[in-house]
C-alpha cells in the first residue's frame, strides 16, 4: 500500500486501469465457471416437480434436503464407499507421485539414449482408448486375486497406469524450470544428489506435484467404468453413485444431489492442495 502512495500519479492511473481490467476479466471468467455450477447445486435442493418446471426458478422455492437424505439411504453401500474412495485416491496419488515423480526428474535432468522415445511412450497409455483395455485389465487383476477386495488396491494400481505418465510429464516440465545450478551448488556444498533433490528441488517442485496430485485425485475419485467392473460388494463412491442415481432418466433432482455430494470431498481436497500451487517463488528460502 505504501508503495502505491509513493508512486507517481501516472503510474497510479495505469495501475488503477490495470487492476480494473484484471477484476473485470476475473469476474467474467468466474461467471462463466460458476453459473453452470450454481444451477447444478440448486437442482439438488429442489423437488422433482420444481426441477422439471419451466422456466426453472433462479432460486429453490421450496428448499429441501430430501434429495440428499434419499441419496444417502438408497443403498447401504454408499456410506462405506466414501472411505474406500478416499483410500483409492490417496493410494493412487502415492503411486503416481513416487513412480512418476522419479521418472519425471530423470527426464528433466539427464541426457541419455532413447530419452525422447521413452518420454513419449509413457503417454501411450493415455492415447489408447480405455474401452479397449478395460476387460483384459479386469481379468488380469481378478486372476491376481484382487477382485473386489475391501482395500481397493486393484483400482489404485489400475488408476496408477493413466496417472504415472501424466505425472511424469507435469513433473518433468517443472523440474526443467528449476535452475539446475541450485542443485549443483548444493552438491558442491557437500549434499549428495539425493540430499540436494530432497532439500532443494523437491520443495521448488511443489506446485507441479500439487497439480499432478489434483489430476490424480480427481481421476481416481470420479472414475466409474473400471470401478464398476472391478468391484461388487465393495464399490467406490463414484461407481455406486452412478448406478443409484445417474443411470435412469427422469431423476435429475437425485442425480444432482448425488453429484453435489460426491463433489464435496473433492472440493475440500482441492481447496487444501491449491495453496501448494501458488506457493510463490521466493516463498522458499534457500
Amino acid at each position: 500500500m505504501s508503495e502505491l502512495r509513493l508512486a507517481p500519479p501516472v503510474a497510479d492511473w495505469r495501475r488503477f486501469t490495470g487492476l480494473t481490467l484484471t477484476y473485470l476479466a476475473v469476474a467474467g471468467l468466474a461467471l462463466f465457471i460458476l453459473v453452470p455450477v450454481y444451477f447444478l447445486f440448486i437442482l439438488a435442493f429442489m423437488s422433482r416437480a420444481e426441477v422439471y418446471s419451466w422456466p426453472l426458478p433462479l432460486f429453490p422455492k421450496h428448499f429441501t434436503l430430501d434429495n440428499f437424505h434419499f441419496f444417502l439411504t438408497i443403498n447401504p453401500k454408499i456410506i462405506p464407499s466414501i472411505w474406500r474412495s478416499i483410500e483409492v485416491a490417496i493410494t493412487t496419488i502415492l503411486i503416481a507421485l513416487s513412480i512418476g515423480g522419479l521418472a519425471g526428474y530423470s527426464f528433466a535432468r539427464f541426457r541419455f539414449r532413447g530419452k525422447n522415445a521413452l518420454k513419449l511412450s509413457v503417454l501411450f497409455v493415455r492415447m489408447y482408448p480405455g474401452v479397449a483395455v478395460a476387460i483384459p485389465m479386469a481379468v488380469l487383476f481378478m486372476r491376481l486375486g484382487l477382485y473386489d477386495t475391501p482395500f481397493p488396491i486393484a483400482l489404485a494400481l489400475n488408476y496408477g497406469v493413466g496417472n504415472i505418465g501424466l505425472t511424469i510429464w507435469i513433473t518433468a516440465s517443472i523440474f526443467l524450470g528449476i535452475n539446475e545450478e541450485l542443485e549443483e551448488q548444493a552438491m558442491v556444498l557437500g549434499l549428495s544428489r539425493m540430499g540436494a533433490f530432497f532439500r532443494i528441488t523437491l520443495p521448488l517442485a511443489a506446485p507441479g506435484l500439487a497439480a499432478a496430485a489434483i489430476y490424480t485425485f480427481i481421476g481416481a475419485w470420479n472414475e466409474v467404468v473400471i470401478a464398476t467392473l472391478m468391484t461388487q460388494f465393495n464399490p467406490t463412491l463414484a461407481a455406486v453413485t452412478y448406478h443409484t442415481v445417474a443411470a435412469a432418466a427422469g431423476s435429475l433432482h437425485l442425480q444432482s444431489a448425488g453429484g453435489a455430494f460426491m463433489a464435496f470431498p473433492a472440493l475440500v481436497f482441492t481447496f487444501i492442495i491449491k495453496r501448494y500451487i501458488i506457493q510463490m517463488w521466493g516463498g522458499v528460502r534457500i
Partner: protein, 412 residues
C-alpha cells in the same frame, strides 16, 4: 483431524459384518430409477431375506453392457461372484453366446411352479431347446399424454380407439394453436426408436423386424407426416421421460414402464392410452425382462429360490403396486387393486391384443441385435429427419443388412 479418521475407520469396520453371512448377488437392468431401486431394496428384498434367515441380498443396477462385461471378465478369470441377473430380451443371445448364463431347463419346476408364464416370453428365453431365461416383466408400447393436450384432441376421437391418422391431426391442431411441436421421440441411438417404428409397421400389417414391405412403407409414410410435429430436440432424447416431465412435449409413444414412470409422477397431469391403430390393427413390439442364473454362480440353490420368489404372483403384484411394472405372470393381475398401477397394466394389456411381435434374437454367427436397431435408426434418420422420403431401393438395401443377422430371414 485424527478424530474424523477414527470415525471413518469405525464406519468402515462397522459395515464389514454386513457381508458376513451368505450374500446373494443380484444384478438388474430393471428398476434403475432411484425410487424404484429403493422400493425393491426396502419393500421386496426384505421379504426374501425373512424367508431365508442368514441371507443378505445385494441388489445392484447395471447397464446391459456393464453386466455383460462383468460376467465375461468374471468367467475368464474363473471367479464368478454374481448369482442372479435380470436382463432384457435383446441381450439374451449375447449372454448365451458368451456362455455366462446357466441352463435352467431341468429347474423349470423349481423356479416357476404353479404359475402361468407367457409362452411367448418363455420361447424368447430358449436357445437350442434349452431354457436360460425365466420371464419376469413384460413390456410393450403405449401412449403417454400430458392432459394439457386433451383440449386439442380432434372431435369424435376417443383415446381408447385412437389411430395414427388421428394422432397426426391431433398434433397438427396443437401445432396450429400453440406453435408447439408436441411429440416426443427418443432419437438417441440404440434406444427405443426401433420398437416404436416397429410397432407402427405392425399396425399397418407388416412384420418385425421388416423395413421394406408395402406395410412397412405405409408406416414410414405415416412417420413422415408425424415428423413435422416431433420436437426439434428429439435426436438428443434418450428416453422421453425428461422431455415429458419438463413439458417440452405433450405426447409420446413409448415403452410402458417408462410411460408408467411419468404417469406415476403425477396422475393428475398425465394420462395413458393404448398404442394407436394403424390401417390393419393395433401393433406393438413386445419384449420381456427375464431372470437368469449366472453360470458358475456361487449360490446356485439360493439363486434358484430367488428366481422362484420373484415370479410368485403375490410378489409380482406387490412390485406392480410400488413401481411401474407389468407382471409377466398371468395370475399376478388378480392381486392388483384398481388405481394407477392397474392403469399401466391395462394399457399394456390392450397393446397386447393387437398385432404383436416379439424381438427375435439374431441367429447368424456374429449377428447382433444392435445392428438391427441401427438399421431402423438409420432408416428413420434418412426418411424423416433428412427428408429423403420413403425410398424402396434404400429400404431394400437396409432389409438386406437385417437379414444378414439371421440364418433364415426373420420376415419372409
Amino acid at each position: 483431524m485424527r478424530k474424523y479418521v477414527a470415525v471413518l475407520l469405525g464406519l468402515a469396520l462397522f459395515t464389514l459384518p454386513l457381508w458376513a453371512d451368505t450374500t446373494l448377488s443380484v444384478v438388474s437392468r430393471v428398476f434403475s430409477p432411484p425410487e424404484e431401486q429403493r422400493f425393491i431394496r426396502e419393500e421386496i428384498i426384505p421379504l426374501f431375506e425373512a424367508e431365508n434367515p442368514g441371507v443378505t441380498v445385494d441388489f445392484e443396477i447395471l447397464t446391459d453392457s456393464e453386466m455383460l462385461d462383468k460376467l465375461v471378465a468374471q468367467k475368464a478369470a474363473g471367479n464368478v461372484t454374481i448369482d442372479v441377473l435380470i436382463t432384457y430380451v435383446s441381450n439374451f443371445e449375447r449372454l448365451v453366446e458368451a456362455g455366462v448364463v446357466a441352463d435352467l431347463t431341468a429347474e423349470l419346476d423349481v423356479v416357476a411352479p404353479d404359475r402361468t408364464l407367457s409362452a411367448g416370453f418363455l420361447a424368447q428365453g430358449q436357445f437350442d431347446g434349452k431354457q436360460y431365461f425365466i420371464p419376469f416383466a413384460g413390456d410393450d408400447y403405449c401412449l403417454i399424454i400430458n392432459r394439457a393436450a386433451l383440449d386439442y384432441l380432434p372431435a369424435g376421437v376417443s383415446l381408447q380407439e385412437i389411430t395414427y391418422e388421428d394422432l397426426v391431426a391431433w398434433l397438427a391442431n396443437i401445432h396450429e394453436a400453440t406453435g408447439m411441436k408436441a411429440f416426443a421421440l427418443p432419437g438417441v441411438r440404440m434406444g427405443l426408436l426401433t420398437y416404436i417404428v416397429g410397432s407402427t409397421i405392425l399396425a399397418y400389417g407388416g412384420c418385425f423386424p421388416d423395413v421394406n414391405s408395402e406395410a412397412a412403407q405405409a408406416a414410414w409414410e405415416v412417420w413422415t407426416r408425424i415428423y413435422p410435429y416431433v420436437n426439434d430436440n428429439w435426436v438428443t432424447y434418450k428416453m422421453v421421460n425428461d422431455a415429458m416431465l419438463r413439458e417440452e412435449t405433450w405426447i409420446a409413444i413409448t415403452h410402458v414402464a417408462r410411460a408408467g414412470m411419468v404417469y406415476l409422477s403425477d396422475p393428475s397431469k398425465f394420462t395413458l392410452a393404448p398404442v394407436p391403430f394403424g390401417a390393419v390393427d393395433r401393433g406393438s413390439v413386445a419384449g420381456n425382462n427375464s431372470l437368469a442364473l449366472a453360470e458358475g454362480a456361487p449360490n446356485r440353490e439360493l439363486g434358484l429360490k430367488f428366481i422362484e420368489f420373484m415370479t410368485r404372483p403375490e410378489i409380482q403384484a406387490r412390485i406392480a403396486q410400488g413401481v411401474s411394472f407389468n407382471p409377466a405372470v398371468a395370475e399376478a393381475v388378480e392381486f392388483i387393486p384398481p388405481g394407477p398401477a392397474r392403469d399401466i397394466i391395462e394399457v399394456a394389456n390392450i397393446g397386447m391384443t393387437g398385432r404383436v411381435a416379439f424381438i427375435p434374437g439374431p441367429t447368424a454367427e456374429g449377428g447382433d441385435w444392435g445392428v438391427v436397431k441401427q438399421v431402423f435408426e438409420d432408416a428413420f434418420y434418412y426418411i424423416c429427419a433428412r427428408g429423403k422420403g420413403v425410398d424402396p431401393v434404400y429400404l431394400d438395401m437396409q432389409q438386406q443388412i437385417i437379414n444378414m443377422q439371421y440364418i433364415e430371414p426373420p420376415c419372409p
